[in-house]
Symmetry: C2
Subunit: 227 residues, 2 copies
DNA sequence: TTGGCTAATATGTCTAGACATAATGCAAGT
DNA sequence: ACTTGCATTATGTCTAGACATATTAGCCAA
């Protein structure tokens, strides 16, 4: 018997084969259901899935059409750094370089939507892969929204503790290429000005803005995605 | 009446509120259906959606549990460069800098899974935003899988023509930070060695490997995603 | 103790039918 | 010509019930 995944595959095949070229209106659910000999709900399941993937566009009354400029979506799975390192077959370790309470700089408070000069906890962590610098993490934490008790961040990586102890609701991440600052160069053992892949993230939790973090990756780092 | 999105929202709320902490087994579909006064299929729709989002993990017979280390997934929407530029409120233009047939270098053929030395078409395109260099695109095309007739790539951007004329099946994309080569520096009007955000993509089509492309972005470029 | 079979169980999927909702296009009235 | 409103239609969602399938716990035998 045909399942919704079979229907999905067949519809996708026809789109790729240009039986149904970009922009074309494809048959309605009822018609497809009859053609494949399944219930309409099964066709709906298949088409819903294709719509989520951006391959088709569906509108009530107007029908379903093949996307004109199919939006290609790549999914990035953001791992806990420890698992990222272990996944590369290297032993993981980290060092807490700094930990202090201070008024957060404007770019940080602005992105998080906090008032200027809010006191936040600044943590600087160097993540090591096989003993070599892997990522330099500069993080500003909003103490107001953290559950107590806080652990000793020299023992437990902030990165990991946050994931398991704070419910993260939403956030964003941006990648840029930046020259290593003198400080970064020293800590990571590279020449100042070396291009580093930098990821900048802000995260919101249920109780409000949680953290802003900048991850400066060692030279040569690749962030890979599949689509 | 409660819809599947309401169920989804309520379950998510309970997980965030730690009524059901990470690792916990949540009630079965039948039980939830009864609690909310809906059919099991409706609960299933909600939970399936949460599972796709990585919030819960489901196994037959074992039940549904809250994910221990919730995988955070960010979705990157890869736009056609023209739309990316226009979306930033700048006028778009491009220049075809080079176009020749040559044996593709090993890194390219290797990634695409083609035999060494396969003759491919190399296209170098400079994309401009508001008259200033935006992205330098270096592309190797596999002529064997392209539909005829080919357009004049000085008139039509390869980027865009591919999206509408070739069915792209799968691919991968990777970001790195690299120093501008002398050639790149000259074309983009920057100092050699300037950190550039580089995206490298390979794409497979129905007929086989289609293209390998390297996009070197102007300094300061950000690739942003939300999760 | 260990290995393998079996029954129980939770999720996965399907059906057939129903009603909800949004968007379109035509028709009527201004 | 223009607007308003209504009927039409395709998708969206729900229900109740059924069978499929994976996985586990427990039992029994070697």
């Amino acid at each position: 018997m045909l399942g919704w995944e079979d229907i999905r595959a067949e519809v996708l095949r026809r789109i790729r084969a240009r039986d149904w070229p970009p922009g074309a209106l494809i048959p309605g659910e009822e018609a497809l259901a009859e053609e494949f000999g399944v219930a309409r709900a099964t066709v709906n399941r298949a088409l819903t899935s294709l719509a989520e993937a951006g391959v088709i566009e569906r509108k009530k009354r107007a029908g379903t059409r093949v996307a004109e400029l199919p939006v290609r979506r790549a999914r990035l799975e953001i791992p806990v750094i420890r698992l990222d390192v272990l996944g590369r077959g290297l032993p993981y370790d980290f060092k807490l370089l700094a930990d202090r309470l201070a008024p957060a700089p404007v770019p940080v408070t602005a992105r998080l939507g906090l008032p200027e000069g809010t006191p936040m906890r600044k943590l600087e962590t160097l993540h090591l892969a096989g003993g070599r610098p892997f990522v330099l993490e500069t993080r500003w934490l909003n103490p107001a929204v953290l559950p107590v008790p806080l652990p000793d961040f020299a023992q437990v990586s902030v990165n990991e503790w946050l994931v398991t102890h704070v419910s993260l609701v939403s956030g964003d991440i941006a990648f840029t290429a930046e020259p290593a600052s003198p400080r970064e160069a020293e800590v990571m053992g590279v020449v100042p000005g070396t291009p580093l892949l930098v990821a900048e993230r802000t995260t919101q939790g249920t109780g409000g803005p949680v953290t802003w973090v900048r991850l400066a990756h060692a030279p040569g780092h690749r962030v890979a995605m599949t689509f």
